[in-house]
């Protein structure tokens, strides 16, 4: 019998997120998806769900209760059983930016444009297109999959460099600026969210006022504002923009970067397209191969 998840308390922004909605960029809708795909995969697989099943993505503490049935619940892959009607608390994330709470069977919110995730700017998807509030109830799907414990390995290593491909606008920066990007010590700015991560550190100067016209964007690209501050676009990024792009974080490292909390150090390391693709193949094998 299906049940539902009751939100009793929230200590920070929490939304429903899933694997994302690729293929809608031409409507101006970014792909979305989890800030830290590895943690969503760990959470879901530990309760027998497919890696990208809809779950809660929380920046703060959560107080929850399962109604209608008992459930297997996992927080970032640590699974436990919860009885029907039992309340439980998920502490705020300490070592990562967000935390994922998966329930066996997943969160059964309606599919919108191919995904279940919440896009706040458009009040789209998830639970009524908004962040969760105390008193909300989210329906649960049917569970029954085989749980599997995944190991994150070094995927979320906070000391590991973030791999980038330089370009496509690297020629709009002088070589010294590109070298600053690859040698400088940056930290995650508190002014970071699902739209983008701002980085504090050396200024990446360029004389480019930004193309007067808009250009295509993708999650992971690093745009540099006129003040020289780099911003790495997150899952809910604007789909077009005008600032020059000095580099792009490779897809295999999206989670490694976005898992870092404000103040965490970030260093960048340039790789080739071939290295990026190889890293992505290993990532898929590790976190996304079907149960």
């Amino acid at each position: 019998m299906a049940g539902w998840l009751e939100i009793a308390g929230v200590g920070g922004p929490a939304t429903v997120q899933d694997a994302g909605r690729p293929g809608q960029m031409h409507h101006g809708v970014p792909t979305g998806g989890p800030l830290v795909p590895e943690l969503l995969a760990l959470a879901n697989r530990a309760v027998g769900n497919a890696w990208g099943t809809a779950a809660l993505e929380a920046f703060g503490r959560l107080e929850l209760r399962v109604r209608g049935r008992g459930a297997r619940v996992s927080v970032d892959g640590r699974a436990f059983a919860v009885a029907e009607g039992e309340a439980f608390t998920v502490p705020a994330p300490e070592n990562t930016s967000v935390r994922y709470v998966a329930v066996d069977g997943g969160l059964a919110v309606p599919e919108v444009l191919g995904g279940h995730g919440t896009l706040l700017v458009a009040r789209l998807g998830g639970h009524e297109g908004r962040a969760l509030r105390p008193g909300d109830t989210v329906p649960l799907g049917e569970g029954g999959g085989t749980p599997e414990m995944l190991e994150p390995g070094d995927a979320l290593d906070v000391a590991a460099p973030i791999r980038v491909m330089l370009g496509p606008d690297a020629e709009r920066f002088d070589p010294a600026t590109v070298s600053t990007l690859l040698t400088g010590a940056f930290t995650v700015s508190p002014a970071s969210d699902r739209v983008g991560m701002r980085l504090k550190g050396p200024t990446l100067t360029h004389g480019d006022e930004g193309a007067g016209t808009s250009r295509p964007m993708v999650r992971g690209v690093m745009q540099v504002t006129l003040s020289g501050e780099p911003i790495v676009l997150g899952p809910d990024h604007p789909t077009t923009g005008g600032y020059p792009l000095i580099a792009a974080v490779i897809r295999a490292d999206w989670g490694r970067l976005c898992a870092r909390r404000p103040g965490a150090p970030v260093r960048f390391h340039a790789v080739s397209l071939e290295e990026a693709r190889e890293a992505w193949r290993r990532h898929v094998e590790r976190f996304r191969s079907p149960p």
Partner: protein
């Protein structure tokens, strides 16, 4: 990658199609050896001049009857003199017409026999240089005696491939007269072109001008080469940003790119097309789809214009008027006076970039963006105008508010599509 040039053998037939000169980067002009006389050379040079085609000499064994297709017994000394004489004849006419001769390529049997004989190759190269100087680029086979001879003399050398010739599995040409030697199917020529132009072993491709269907073949090859010359830049490991060629209908372009195998999404912005894909499964050369569209523009299903009612009450209306040196009234009138078309959809869900704004009111975006622009605000930035579908940060000059307009629905996505026409109707 330097651009791969299309060279076509021309000036050989009395009724050749002048379109071939518009398609060729380089015209190899027959200069009396296997074909051609002063009149045909002059015609060819004039066509080069009209269409901006680069002229090249196309000397041959002196065998007009056999069209230079069979090897003759000519000593290197004599060959050198024949080459110099043929090329000089073209050069004299060209200089009279003010057309520079910048390329040279031996024709037919000579191309092959010289490439197998260092002495003959050197004689050909020396004869050509005697007539045309060392500033020319010599066109010949990728490897062999001709390339060696050109190198010895210090000539620039363009390695040639044949877009309209069939190849054996080992890459060598299928000899003429055998099945599959000459391709007539443009699709095969296109495949050949992509393979040769991206393989790194040729600098120029040849299409023969004397075969039936030569124009169609040349057009296919040229469109493919033009597409492959378009800049394509990886946007990380899962997207490729292409420079959008002039003259493509925007919506059809998006649909064609989106329909390619392994392309997950395609977005058109002002100057680019971008394809998105799984990094583990990149699509094949998406620029070829653009080449096809350039060649065969698809039909466009035009929808009736959308009318958006606007109250001109934006906080930047007075500022825009001041900057434009116009009364506020006039800014509103000019904004509502013309029909716009959707140039791109992006930034926010359902946000349509509309152009062209009347240049008198095309003011640049705000120096500092607002942290919150209300939903349905109507803005101007440079030559673009648009309606914010949702409350969001934004840097456009806000001149009004759209009434009863829905830019985006969860069911159908963006309401305005690329190429749609939009009008604003003023409401007080």
């Amino acid at each position: 990658m330097t651009e791969c040039l299309l060279n076509i053998d021309l000036g050989e037939l009395p009724e050749e199609d002048e379109q071939l000169y518009t398609l060729a980067h380089v015209a190899n002009i027959a200069c009396g050896g296997h074909a051609g006389d002063d009149a045909s050379m002059r015609r060819a040079l004039e066509a080069c001049s009209r269409h901006g085609t680069r002229a090249g000499a196309h000397p041959s064994y002196e065998d007009r009857e056999g069209f230079g297709r069979k090897a003759l017994d000519v000593t290197p000394e004599v060959m050198r003199g024949q080459m110099a004489a043929q090329c000089s004849r073209l050069a004299r006419l060209a200089s009279g017409l003010g057309v520079p001769v910048r390329y040279a390529k031996p024709h037919g049997a000579l191309y092959h026999s010289a490439n197998a004989s260092p002495a003959l190759a050197r004689a050909v190269v020396d004869g050509v240089v005697e007539a045309l100087g060392r500033g020319i680029t010599f066109i010949g086979p990728g490897t062999g005696a001709l390339r060696d001879a050109a190198r010895e003399v210090g000539l620039a050398y363009a390695r040639e491939g044949f877009a309209d010739r069939g190849t054996r599995p080992d890459g060598s040409l299928i000899p003429r007269g055998q099945p599959g030697a000459v391709l007539t199917d443009p699709a095969l020529a296109r495949e050949n072109t992509v393979r040769l132009a991206t393989g790194g072993t040729v600098d120029t491709l040849c299409v023969h001008g004397d075969t039936p269907g030569a124009v169609e073949m040349a057009r296919e090859v040229r469109a493919t080469l033009d597409a492959l010359a378009l800049p394509a830049e990886p946007l990380g490991d899962g997207a490729l940003r292409l420079v959008l060629p002039e003259g493509l209908e925007r919506r059809a372009t998006r649909e064609a790119l989106c329909a390619l195998p392994r392309v997950v999404d395609a977005v058109i912005t002002e100057e680019h097309a971008c394809v998105y894909f799984d990094p583990a499964a990149p699509p094949e050369e998406p620029r070829l789809a653009l080449a096809r569209l350039l060649r065969i523009p698809p039909p466009v299903d035009e929808r009736p214009p959308t009318t958006i009612r606007v109250r001109y009450d934006g906080p930047d209306l007075a500022g825009v008027a001041e900057r434009a040196g116009l009364p506020v009234e006039e800014v509103a009138r000019l904004h509502a006076a013309r029909e716009y078309s959707v140039r791109c959809v992006g930034f926010l869900p359902g946000f349509a970039y509309l152009g062209e704004v009347d240049p008198r009111i095309a003011v640049p975006r705000l120096p500092t963006p607002r942290t919150r622009v209300p939903a349905l605000a109507v803005g101007i930035a440079g030559g673009r105008t648009g309606v914010y579908p949702f409350a969001s940060p934004g840097g456009w000059n806000l001149i009004g508010t759209a009434l009863d307009f829905t830019a985006f629905t969860p069911e159908q996505g963006a309401v305005l599509r690329l190429g749609d026409r939009v009008r604003f109707e003023r409401v007080d």
